[in-house]
Symmetry: C2
Subunit: 307 residues, 2 copies
Amino acid sequence: MNKSFDEIIAKVKECGMKKVAVSVAQDEAVLEAVREAKKRGIADAILVGDAEKIGAIAAQIDMDLSEFQIIHEPDMIQASLKAVKLAHDGEADMYMKGVIDTKNFLKSVLDKEVGLRTGGVLSHVCVFDIPGIDRLLYLTDVAFMTYPTLEDKVNIIKNTLPVAKACGLDCPKIAPLAAVEVVNPKMEVTVEAAELTRMNRKGELTGCIIDGPLSLDLAIDPEAAKHKGATDRPIQGDADVLLFPDIHAGNLVYKAIVHMVPGVKNGCILTGTKVPVILTSRSDTFETKVNSMALAAVVAEEMKKNA
Amino acid sequence: MNKSFDEIIAKVKECGMKKVAVSVAQDEAVLEAVREAKKRGIADAILVGDAEKIGAIAAQIDMDLSEFQIIHEPDMIQASLKAVKLAHDGEADMYMKGVIDTKNFLKSVLDKEVGLRTGGVLSHVCVFDIPGIDRLLYLTDVAFMTYPTLEDKVNIIKNTLPVAKACGLDCPKIAPLAAVEVVNPKMEVTVEAAELTRMNRKGELTGCIIDGPLSLDLAIDPEAAKHKGATDRPIQGDADVLLFPDIHAGNLVYKAIVHMVPGVKNGCILTGTKVPVILTSRSDTFETKVNSMALAAVVAEEMKKNA
């Protein structure tokens, strides 16, 4: 079980560098991350976009482009389709967003001919390495699915399992979170959390241990679980996956951690696709972009093993 | 403007020790907090509850009860009514929960004859002193109101203003939070955030600056606001009050901060009542209980000034 992002990066090196297709690559932050990922042995990149602009930015940041394959396509939509096709055809192991807007990037991901659909639901998972917590935490969904239904939550859980497995965790403990740890019929999220737990106990949703509803202290803090006397629950402060009620709760917690916890590391990918998709945002740091590529690389390796 | 909990405690000392009525005081953690609050010059306590049990616990923790007034009432409901009446009658400046369950404690707060109703809506505010953030943050509502309507949010904001004022902040910047910083008709919370902002601009809701919807990074991180180009917004990473969409989002962020950010300090009170109410929970630390009393004390002082 990988306990830190350093271990994930070490794992990538073990199984060999992966290849990432970058959609509309003419962006300083993206190129810097791509260069670093190659330097660290995480991923080699195929840069799809406006070759002239890519060249100009590379010159500014003193980046040697001769190490990278470049596919010239000045039109953004066309560039995204060419880039995603590389992943679709198996010429790249993962697909990454450049300066194209999210809407058009997702259109390429979902393209019926050259995209990365698998028939399943797409969801987002963010892996956190938090000082003081002795394991990785998987937060989902903090960025993609807005108001997941019970069925969506089942799919989000299923999408998260291969990510945990890629990080060495065969049977993650999953906490469907709420403000409270008991079912309250006036709070639909607690009812759905209990239903997910029931499905897990009855063998309808396997490969994990689900225990909800859980408040965040009972999910992540063993001392709090002990103090509240939650000694008969399958999760006692040792949850791996934090399943959020909706995108507001998830995104606000995600940003609280990123902006308030010193020394935190995280990487995020979109799952439910044929290959892992890296949907970085403008506000992600350089390290987060590199970590997301490392996460995508171990997930890509896991998917290849099972293909 | 107070920038830390130490400053709040210093302020209490300036305006003189307050008096707290404790509802069902026979609890070790409560008595330890009460003793510490007196030692630090924050509050003197009137202990209402089972005098024999209070005495036994005090002996265990080597606490000198001769410093405190004790009102013997072994019945919990009766004890809560006697304690709340002290606050109702002005014999105590604030009201604090002991080992009585929350439901019955709130019944005493809302009691029509001896309770603390003002005709307004009750809400909860939690004040955070977070390392790396140069001001106090006011989180609301993370513990009391479950699914606030637009009207509830107006009342939550109104309840929060005297708390900010008590901490030296006359015109707080209020961020109605969401996962995104633009209005999306499919996300009711963003529509309501925009409406609160409009009400503030039109002078229908004054004494503060409201700017929403805001994502958490734009609300608290000036660098992120700059990076995302939010330079025309009234709030650019300098929000004071974080208004949450619902109790799940609020409570999960609250617990993420408490359990993940090293060196954080916080205190919480219930507002909208005749005097500040301290609704501590079992999982609150000793420091949080003491800080909550200090916060209640400065708010009580502010309310007296305006009475």
